[in-house]
């Protein structure tokens, strides 16, 4: 029963959706203020969601109807499932086992795959080009993201979130060594969330809305919710891995701290996306392999060296 509530309400789908909308609001509002605009009112993301849900759904005749309908739900499910393994109010997550970080990272890959499959099965030219770009981009940012996120775990000699938190509670100073990894993961996360400069798969001035071109009504609403949840989960992942302090505090305080940490990552993402022009797909791949991947390798080397010198 607790598990069911955990999955459905807190910290499951309902909480994540709500928190996702809050994060979207913070992101949009800050983006607007940085651009010297007013920005949307606080209820705008929710209003958008309700509007989309109540609108007519149009499915292209040529589209693969089952895939077309299944993908949005799958995207939300995968993104929400990942959140269950991330610690939020204590060192222990709702579910935990040895190696859960690998599962979280892989679950976070699934939404991107559903974007690809959804776009591909809608058989529109724009959607197909967007889908192909989606996959191309996935191969570019995924490796740096993996290496960046896994580096702190290497330092702690574990593949488990709870043990990671315990380790950094015992040695809080070691968090400093992961700065490069944090930067790399943040940039790679922008690629995963398809934010400028990596919003190539849905570049509106080139291919309309990329994978989502043919989506409308509640399926589009679900997809957008999936993106929001992905943002929360991604930010939570970064917060849990790179800012693992304060998890030993009382549950309420630790949870408030968690919210602040996630919003901090969202604010960083928002500032970053204000500053750049959209890259081209070839430039994006170049950038990821030329700068991001080596930087994450450097992080791994640093952690190996630190482990050898200080922890042995």
């Amino acid at each position: 029963m607790t598990a069911l509530i955990g999955i459905l309400v807190f910290p499951g789908v309902f909480f994540l959706s709500l928190f996702g909308l809050v994060c979207e609001f913070v992101d949009r509002k800050l983006h607007a203020r940085l651009q010297h605009r007013v920005g949307p009112p606080w209820f705008q993301p929710l209003a958008d969601f309700i509007k989309l849900v109540s609108k007519e759904t149009i499915i292209p005749e040529e589209a693969d109807r089952t895939m077309f309908r299944l993908m949005p739900a799958l995207a939300v499910a995968a993104a929400a499932a990942a959140a269950l393994y991330i610690p939020m109010w204590s060192a222990k997550a709702l579910f935990s086992f040895s190696g859960d970080v690998i599962v979280v990272i892989y679950l976070l890959t699934i939404p991107t795959l559903t974007f690809f499959l959804g776009g591909w099965s809608s058989t529109s030219l724009y959607a197909m080009i967007g889908s192909v770009r989606c996959l191309t981009q996935l191969f570019a940012y995924e490796v740096p993201l993996f290496m960046g996120v896994l580096a702190p775990f290497m330092l702690a000699s574990t593949w488990n979130f709870s043990e990671l938190a315990e380790f950094y509670r015992a040695h809080p100073g070691y968090m400093i060594f992961n700065v490069i990894g944090f930067a790399v993961s943040l940039v790679a996360l922008m690629g995963k969330l398809e934010k400028v400069p990596f919003d190539i798969p849905e570049a509106e001035t080139e291919i309309v809305a990329g994978s989502f071109t043919e989506y409308s009504g509640r399926y589009l609403a679900l997809f957008r919710m999936a993106v929001d949840i992905e943002m929360v989960v991604g930010a939570s992942l970064l917060a849990a891995v790179f800012l693992p302090f304060g998890l030993g505090l009382p549950a309420g305080v630790a949870f408030a701290l968690y919210v602040i940490k996630v919003l901090f990552v969202v604010v960083l993402l928002s500032i970053l996306r204000t500053l750049f022009a959209r890259l081209r797909i070839d430039q994006m791949v170049d950038f990821c392999w030329k700068y991001l991947a080596p930087a994450s390798l450097v992080q791994l080397l640093i952690n190996l060296a630190v482990k050898g010198a200080l922890l042995s």
Binding site: V196, T205, T274, F276, A277, L279
Partner: protein
Amino acid sequence: MSKVTIPIGPQHPALKEPARFCLTLNGEKIYEIDLRLGYNHRGIEKACEERTYIQAMYLVERVCGICSHSHSTAFIQAVEEIAGLQLPRRGLYIRTLIAELERIHSHLLWLGVAGHEVGFDTLLMYAWRDRELVMDILADLTGNRVNYGINTIGGVRRDVTPRQIERVTKAMDTFEERTKYYVQVATEESTLIARLSNVGKLCYDDAMRLGAIGPTARACGLERDARKADPYGLYGELDFKVITDKHSDVYGRAVVRLLELMESYRIIRQLCKGMPEGPIAVKAPRKIPAGEALSRYEAPRGEDVHYVRGNGTDKPERVKIRAPTLANLQAVAKMLEDNYLADTTIVIAAIDPCFSCTDRAVLLKKSRRRNEEPVLWNSLRDYGIAWHRKQGLDFGDMNRRFGRMMERSSR
């Protein structure tokens, strides 16, 4: 991935006006381009023939929303030349002042649009925020933010007050500071440079051959500016430079436009300083004598050409408008070759296109026959040559010599 044909337009989020670019893609690279125009033909030239000169002027002003002053000035310059009107100095000053303010507003608009096309919305927001300043000045001077309605045959309709001149001069300081900042952003922000440089290359020879004009040509190092080449209005006595650039790509076009803004501020400063006293318009006759005139005008997008023929009544007999975008469209097809799909929109946007202004297709039909088939361009050309031969005029030899001359000069 096999070859895919993807339509950009007639409706597409990147195009603000209808035009169709059918791109055949080889992966992400463009392999072939098919360009279709004519989705927004409004019959303005014909409509002008049924209106008096004053009425036609307001119609011509609405050819384009951004360079409305350019079109109305180009039109009435031609009318004034036919009527032999001598404009009062103050009228000319005001007309030129509005023209340069319009250039500022158009170039800032372009900067924002270019930013948007490459996904740099922050640049769009800031450029358009600063553009509001010049829009407010234009509204203050003329009464409206677009379609200023300041021109009239024989001068301008509204005088400027000393307070307004002071406001314009003061605003120039702000603009200069902001433009310097945008030059810095355009030349230093690495993602922007990555998207702009080496995109939409057009070499000097191609620009010459395809007849590119305006900032598009000037970014290829081609010194083409009607303000210098064929000074009209006050431009003969103003001190300004024609900005050129050697980059020949979208980056060069951005730089040319930004530096042209700086020149515009200089021109406006000179105009505000030297504004003479006196009347702002002379009385124009209702009936314009018979005659014809061709008027060239350097609009923000390039050279705007208007041809007017009068027949002694109060209505023009023929009006022909060549909007600047038309001259640059051939160049766009060349620029797009072998580029990425992602760069299509910025390459198209780089000529600052205005498709609705451009669309004035004419379909000629052989009316005597039952089945009305359209007359093709080649047969029309043959007909024209034959007609002139009959009149005792043969341009064939001259044409050939001119062709050779062009070839030599482009080499």
